[in-house]
Amino acid sequence: MSETVVVEKVSVRFGSTLALDDVSLTVSPGSYTVLLGPSGSGKTTLLSVLGGFQEPTSGRVLIGGEDCTHVPPARRPTTTVFQDYALFPHMTVGNNVAFGLLMRGMAAAPRREKAREMLAVVGLAEAFDRKPHQLSGGQRQRVALARALVVEPKVLLLDEPLGALDLKLRRQMQDELKAIQKRVGTAFVHVTHDQEEAMALADHLVVMNKGRIEDEGTPEKVYTRPATRFAATFMGESTIIGNRAIRPEHISLVAGEGNLGRARIVDVTYQGSFKRVAAQGKETLFLVRLPADVAIAIGDEVGLACDAARMIELPS
């Protein structure tokens, strides 16, 4: 079974800081991998290593079975969608998309044809003769995507591609991104710090922190069975008790004591479809998600309970 990308024990050192610390990762053909982490977690550095913009201090990168560790970006079977899109401002949209084909020596006519096809795939066929600055943010994003996809890379790398868009457009583009990925079947590696975006997109979710991979797997696995304390708190909210974590939606109100003890409500936030409640127990501050119609107020004394099977054991 040949994996699209294999990263073997890669470290990157900038002076005295270790940006990547002995990271290993596998990307399967046609998969959508999301690297999730806070800023400084090493996710962007890992993407740069895959794209060839950053040489690792140690370790190897195999792409399509070939050792690409020291291959420059131009000769790698990867392309990148940059956060600022990096569209060529002096070229039309069509020439932007066709640029990679021009570099590969393709003749003008088929080049235009392929560029047109790819623009149609991203839903921008009509923008062929326009200049990048005449497009909206979401449209530029799609041009960048088309430009990177048209050269048929083995892996497409996306560096916070939705970061510059407003929230509503971001949610809409993230659905489209997933649809386009299914349509073209290329493996995508996508960097983000937005966990909602990560969960919506990923087949394979990789949670990073301080230059290391904290956890990986399907979003469901990472959410329900996080491997580390960091993964449990960064991917969704949790209340941590000792070395166990409980998700807010798994705590319920009970009359009397309950298996989590009694607590006093200290904060209630109405969120539309639910209420987010903070309750101070004897030692722990519980985060609880309650149905929106539950009548509750700050200062109420309640009992809290949780199905023991829902408790997540964390490695100590």
Binding site: F14, T44, E55
Partner: protein, 279 residues
């Protein structure tokens, strides 16, 4: 993505400019510095040129004149240009500002020599001002306006008012309008808003303009030569005199080194305002 690529392309591209500057700027300057230590008609190596400069009051006086004129020009130009730039930026309606600014710097486009000459037309003994004043009976005999320090200063101020208006205007326009609103909101009147907010924020621009004025004015030969005449010499005139009348390249070199040193001191004094940054 922090590391820049190391390869020969960089060297290949930087070499022409670097070599050119070394060969035609650094080397000539060093040559001048060396030549200044071998006085004309002297016995080889010696400091006579510098001794002469600091010993001979008529030489020394040229530097003092230059510094005085430059200081007056810089101060007067800023005092005239700041309110003008302020009016252009804040009183003139937005859509006329570009035109107003272009008009204000239009005479920039006359050649430097021509600009000084045209002031001569205005200030000369039979020039426009004297003729007008005599025609209206305010004067019975023409007054000496040209060939004086005042004429030199006027010629310089004319040029630098335009230059400083440009730099100060650009600076004023860069200030977010909310600063002034915030100051007013917090109870500052227009005067204290200006003193506490606007002036400190435009000070870097003023410093850049002042430095430019200083460097360009102190090294200029044309304006003092055409408008000031030879009644009092400024340093550049003295330098030109060394090679013109006396063919003394060594002494001219020494004086150039001194001029360069004065500019360098000014540069070091204002260096922190003058950084070239990438955007």
């Amino acid at each position: 993505m922090t590391g820049l690529p190391k390869n020969s392309t960089g060297w290949f591209c930087v070499t022409p400019a670097l070599l050119f500057t070394l060969l035609f700027f650094v080397l000539p300057f060093l040559g001048m510095a060396v030549l200044s230590l071998f006085p004309k008609g002297g016995e080889g190596f010696g400091f006579e040129n510098y001794a002469q400069f600091f010993g001979n009051p008529s030489y020394w006086r040229a530097l003092v004149n230059s510094l005085e004129v430059t200081a007056i020009v810089t101060a007067v130009s800023i005092l005239l240009a700041y309110p003008f730039a302020w009016i252009l930026a804040n009183v003139v309606p937005e859509r006329w500002q570009r035109l107003a600014l272009m008009l204000a710097v239009l005479p920039f486009w006359t050649s430097y020599v021509v600009r000084s000459y045209s002031w001569l037309l205005v200030l000369a003994e039979n020039g426009v001002i004297n003729q007008m004043l005599m025609g209206s009976g305010m004067l019975s005999a023409p007054v000496q306006l040209a060939n004086s320090r005042a004429a030199t200063v006027i010629g310089f101020v004319h040029f630098f008012v335009m230059l400083l208006t440009l730099t100060i205007y650009a600076n004023l326009k860069q200030l977010p309008p909310n600063y002034r609103k915030a100051a007013a909101d917090l109870g500052a009147g227009p005067v204290s808003a200006f003193i506490h907010i606007i002036l400190p924020l435009t000070l870097p621009g003023i410093m850049v303009g002042a430095f430019l004025t200083f460097v360009l004015a102190i090294g200029d030969y044309i304006t003092p030569q055409i408008l000031g005449g030879n009644n009092e010499l400024l340093l550049p005139q003295l330098i030109m005199m060394q090679i013109g009348r006396r063919g003394d390249f060594s002494s001219a070199s020494a004086l150039s080194v001194i001029l360069m040193a004065v500019v360098t001191i000014a540069y070091l004094a204002s260096a922190r305002w003058l950084k070239i940054e990438r955007t």
